[in-house]
């Protein structure tokens, strides 16, 4: 039941929010509900939870089945931590119709949690769309100047992806022996080689767009740039994980043969994307776009590691899913504070933050070094295992991927230098002490960075069973 309640709480809170017109009160409702969700998520992650299983659409034999294994747990934990953090950090930002905004955010949260818990393909698809649709509204209504065009691109892109996936689901479903959407039935479906390949391609396209994998990534920097920051945070911290999750939960187990035969292709594509995005990040002047490309690079590493089909790579990805979310959240929050107070995201106009607001600069530097996976920060462990897996797969590819270690240092330190160091610019001079609540969540996030960086075993323990299922036959 705890699994069902973690889904219904944000959903009910969202409906309530539609009727709470008062901004302050709307904030409280959103924060309170997401805090309860977070408590439940901790409970699920550390105590384990029974599955939930009920009839759903009987005529199709689709079931409302929720399961929480290590993979689900780590992502639920990330989702549940992200939302209150985002709500608190952006609680002071100007927004019209705040209650509607928050309601849509909570619908998204419901969808995300559902995606990670669903054990039935149709249910998975249902939540997948539930997570996406509110985002279109959030971007197109509350976004930046170019929001309409950008949201349209985003919409078309992901809509196409979803469509492919739906076709894929139907294809596999129609070949299951017991006409069921359950993962187990999907695994045992009688697919010809051609059908398996087609289904693999359909699923892969959907997930590749979501991650995104090069060259399907161009919607992402635009969407990150034009979305309201709270939405950008959801997109980059949690939503991109839907693609990776899909690969781990559905793509690899369902079509192992096709995945193995296309491993080279996917890994090479991913790694090209990693280096490509890193190079582009070096030349960005807009903080948001820089973080966006940096994120594409980091996600590319994860997707490459997944297709190496090694236990070490899977382990790395499982914890990196979480760590990447935490780090990118931290960076976004700092970037948002700067943008809110200076009115600019252009690094040319910034500088001298370390002199003007030392505390914020320290936090920025902390997340920046976590972003480049400095040892004893959380990202090191994950990326260490990830690079290891790619190297194991093919040493040359490992070395090629490794170049991103250097490139990441270049663009991240560029960013730190331009924002934090130098003399105080006119824009930076407008900075005031960031509000206590934003500072508080940043410190909490940085705490997570170091705790899981020094003692990553916490995360390993959560994800251990998934690894067992996938690699110990």
């Amino acid at each position: 039941m705890v699994l069902l309640s973690i889904l219904t709480i944000p959903f009910i809170a969202a409906i309530i929010l539609l009727f709470v017109k008062h901004n302050e009160k709307a904030n409280y409702v959103a924060i309170a509900s997401s805090a309860v969700t977070m408590a439940l998520a901790f409970n699920i992650a550390f105590n384990g939870a029974a599955n939930f299983d009920a009839d759903w659409i009987l005529s199709l034999n689709a079931r409302f089945i929720l399961t929480a294994d290590g993979l689900a747990k780590i992502l639920i934990l990330l989702t549940a931590i992200s939302f209150p953090v985002i709500f608190i950090a952006t609680s002071k930002n100007e927004l019209k119709n705040r209650n509607q905004f928050l309601a849509l955010m909570l619908f998204t949260q419901t969808g995300l949690l559902g995606v990670f818990l669903a054990g039935d393909a149709l249910l998975f698809y249902f939540f997948w769309e539930l997570a996406l649709i509110p985002v279109y509204f959030l971007c197109s209504i509350w976004g930046g100047e170019k929001r309409i065009a950008i949201t349209f691109k985003f919409f078309i892109y992901t809509f196409l992806g979803s469509l492919f996936m739906l076709i894929g689901i139907i294809l596999v479903y129609s070949n299951t022996t017991d006409h069921s959407f359950l993962i187990a039935s999907f695994k045992n479906a009688n697919l010809t080689a051609g059908q398996q390949l087609a289904a693999f391609a359909l699923f892969f396209t959907a997930f590749a767009i979501k991650m995104p994998i090069f060259p399907l990534h161009t919607w992402q920097p635009d969407a990150y740039e034009q979305s309201p920051t709270a939405v950008t945070m959801v997109l980059s911290a949690v939503m991109v994980k839907m693609g990776l999750y899909g690969v781990i939960r559905w793509l690899l187990p369902l079509f192992p043969a096709a995945a193995a035969s296309h491993a080279n292709f996917v890994i090479v594509l991913s790694l090209i994307g990693v280096i490509y995005a890193s190079f582009i990040a070096i030349r960005q002047d807009d903080v948001k776009r820089l973080i966006a490309y940096s994120s594409i690079a980091h996600i590319g590493l994860m997707s490459a590691a997944l297709f190496t089909n090694t236990s070490i790579g899977m382990q790395g990805v499982l914890i990196q899913l979480f760590s990447h979310g935490i780090n990118v959240l931290g960076l976004w929050i700092v970037a948002d504070i700067i943008e809110q107070q200076t009115g600019t995201r252009s690094m040319k106009a910034l500088g001298g933050l370390a002199k003007k607001q030392p505390t914020l600069a320290i936090l920025l530097v902390g997340f920046a070094f976590a972003n480049i996976a400095l040892p004893l920060t959380n990202a090191f462990v994950g990326e260490f295992l990830i690079f290891n897996a790619i190297f194991q797969f093919n040493p040359w590819m490992g070395a090629f991927a490794g170049v991103s270690v250097v490139l990441a240092a270049i663009y991240t330190l560029n960013m730190v230098q331009k924002i934090a160091y130098g003399s105080v610019s006119d824009a930076t001079n407008l900075m005031q002490v960031p509000n206590k609540s934003a500072q508080f969540v940043l410190i909490v996030l940085l705490g997570i960075v170091f705790v899981t960086g020094v003692y990553p075993q916490v995360l390993f323990n959560i994800t251990a069973d998934t690894l067992q299922q996938l690699f110990v036959k």
Partner: protein
């Protein structure tokens, strides 16, 4: 013992947190006492650990599992043996003195910055201790990158200065290139052996499992890491720029400790390195080339810290020469003596800069001998030590490396002696220009010239004593000594094969190198005791003055093309080609969409309402379904 060893590392971390978090709270006095005190505490515990190793031998202690999964296990273990305990003493010992010195040197900084400075310094000691204490390559790597971080933070300590920020960034990125090599070596070890713990990797059994190619690749990759951290060709250009940091930082990090990490790493992995002929040649050749290149540059520099920086690069080159010819204990010996005299020289330079009100150009100094007597005298000892004049410490360690080099190939020896002559020359050029002759600075500077306070001169005196007598730990048997150090290191590097040279050859080599160095030294003093160098006139002079134009070369051949490439990807490929294709497709879709958009009325409330209704409908589907089923079944 487990606790004692743990606290050697923990105290500096406590200091970091104390000053880092309390930077707006504590008074400068508290900050200084705490920061220095924590490192001193580590030093005392290090002595205990050292004595324990002497009495009971090496120990390994386990704290927790850093990474423990089905496929890989990386324990958080420390190893205290002869090698790491020696490094512990040097790091915490010299570290304490430099902290003490800093309390006075940095006294003009405001309290929060003063705290920040000491927090970084403490964090550096913490990372460096992790580096040498770790019992596997991953822990070493943690410290390895950690010292890189601290170096970055300290070079850019005066962060409003853009030039300094560039220097800091350059240091970190060049180090990262090296780190990548190190990282790949670790992966290679994991793939082949499944472990990175010294206890398993550095054994004959593991060696047997590795092919020659594996060993060569692993050692070369490790060496790439060492090139970055220890500033060897081609990754050395960050070190001279690193002089942007406060002078005590240059002394501690960029001379005495961090840059010797590469030597530590190779000495630790000596079993692997000795097993690859190719790597040994590469190490020796890179080492001697770096030693010579840096020495030629040092001859023409006029910034007191730049001369010392190139001198450091050059001396590190000697150490790598030693490693390349298999003289591991000689290299470690030189690490130790170099730590003393180079820290001394840098701190002496700091004392001069302090007295000169931040003037670093030696052409504007001169005649400081009488004004700064303690600084002068100790600096002179440092110069004699580095020049290799017996019986000062540098002589013994350099001689050991040169003798081993001769045994491997006389060419190495000849080049080594040429480098030694240059070393003597540029050091005494520096000494004479700075301290002898007449004062060439401004009236005002002359008026304010003063000897530094006790907190600064005390470290100078102690380091001068150490520089003078530290050779005693490695007096060769040739001179009736016992060579305590090489006996110490025998368990780690094996019995150092005494170079198969007859005693008479050894005496001859020693005599030759010392007399050449002394001649060079006298020429330098004679030439520079009255006047300083003018602008370089000859083509060669300009070439050396401009550091062989290596920075310009890197900039034009690597940095700029890569930057252009990035711009090309961003502007052409990304914007026009990839996104162009996407948008082209989009336009077609958009056209058709325009036809059906009339359904949308633009009211947010409606959208949300419909969405919620839809969701609820789907949620309730199962309910309907059941009813329908029942209906049909009835």
């Amino acid at each position: 013992m487990k606790l004692i060893i743990g606290f050697i590392v923990l105290w500096p971390l406590v200091g970091f947190l104390f000053n880092g978090l309390g930077r707006n709270i504590w008074s400068k006095k508290t900050i200084a006492y705490k920061a220095t005190g924590y490192v001193l505490a580590s030093f005392i515990l290090s002595i205990i650990a050292f004595v324990n190793v002497q009495a009971k031998g090496a120990i390994t202690v386990h704290y927790f599992d850093f990474i423990n999964t089905d496929t890989i296990k990386i324990p958080f273990d420390f190893k205290v043996d002869a090698l790491s305990s020696l490094f512990l003493l040097v790091i915490t010992g010299v570290g304490t003195l430099i902290h003490l010195y800093s309390t006075a040197y940095m006294k003009d900084e405001e309290a929060p910055h003063y705290a920040r400075y000491f927090a970084y310094l403490n964090l550096f000691i913490f990372s460096m201790l992790l580096l040498v204490l770790g019992d596997n390559y991953v822990i070493m790597f943690i410290g390895w990158e950690g010292v890189g971080l601290c170096s970055y933070l300290l070079i850019g300590y005066w962060f409003t200065n853009t030039t300094y920020n560039y220097a800091a960034k350059k240091a970190f990125i060049m180090n990262r290139i090296g780190d990548l090599g190190f990282l790949l070596a670790i992966f290679w070890l994991i793939v082949k052996l499944g472990t990175v713990s010294y206890g398993t990797v550095l054994t004959a059994e593991s060696l047997a499992k590795l092919s020659t190619t594996d060993i060569t690749a692993i050692t070369l990759l490790l060496f790439v890491g060492a090139m970055g951290k220890s500033a060897q060709i081609p990754l050395y250009t960050w070190l001279p720029d690193a002089m942007a940091g406060p002078t005590p930082v240059s002394a501690l990090i960029h001379a005495a400790t961090m840059v010797t990490a590469g030597i530590y790493m190779i000495t630790r992995s000596n079993i692997l390195f000795s097993a690859s002929e190719i790597t040994q040649h590469v190490v020796a050749i890179v080492g001697i080339s770096t030693a010579l290149l840096a020495a030629t540059i040092a001859i023409k520099q006029n910034d007191i810290k730049k001369v010392l920086a190139y001198s450091t690069v050059s001396q590190l080159g000697y150490m790598f020469l030693g490693l390349g010819v298999g003289a591991y204990s000689g290299a470690v010996f030189h690490v130790i003596t170099h730590a003393f005299f180079k820290a001394l020289l840098f701190l002496g330079a700091g004392s001069v800069i302090h007295a000169m009100h931040h003037e670093q150009d030696i052409r504007k100094m001169g005649g400081l001998k009488s004004k700064l007597p303690i600084t002068h005298f100790t600096f002179l000892i440092g110069c004699i030590a580095i020049a290799g004049v017996p019986p000062f410490s540098g002589f013994f360690s350099k001689d050991e490396i040169l003798a081993a080099a001769f045994a491997k190939s006389p060419i190495y020896w000849v080049l080594g002696v040429i480098g030694a002559a240059m070393t003597a020359f540029y050091m005494f050029r520096l000494y004479a220009t700075t301290f002898l002759g007449k004062f060439r600075g401004t009236e005002e500077q002359a008026h304010h010239l003063h000897e530094s306070p006790f907190a600064m001169t005390l470290p100078l005196i102690l380091l001068a004593v150490a520089s003078a007598i530290a050779g005693a730990i490695g007096i060769p048997e040739l001179m009736g000594g016992h060579h305590w150090l090489s006996h110490q290191l025998t368990p780690i590097v094996g019995v150092t094969k005494e170079a198969a040279l007859s005693h008479s050859t050894e005496w001859a080599l020693m005599g030759a190198s010392v007399s050449i160095a002394v001649i060079a030294l006298l020429i330098a003093v004679n030439r520079y005791k009255r006047q300083a160098d003018g602008e370089p006139q000859t083509a060669l002079g300009k070439f050396l003055y401009n550091k062989w134009y290596v920075d310009e070369l890197y900039n034009n051949v690597i940095v700029q093309p890569l930057n252009k490439f990035a711009g090309f990807l961003k502007e052409t490929i990304e914007k026009n080609i990839i996104d162009g294709a996407v948008n082209g497709t989009g336009k077609v879709v958009q056209y058709s969409a325009r036809k059906i958009r009339l359904i949308q009325n633009g009211q947010v409330g409606y959208y949300i309402l419909f969405m919620v209704l839809g969701i609820i409908l789907l949620f309730l589907c199962w309910f309907n379904d059941i009813t329908i089923h029942r209906f049909f079944n009835n």
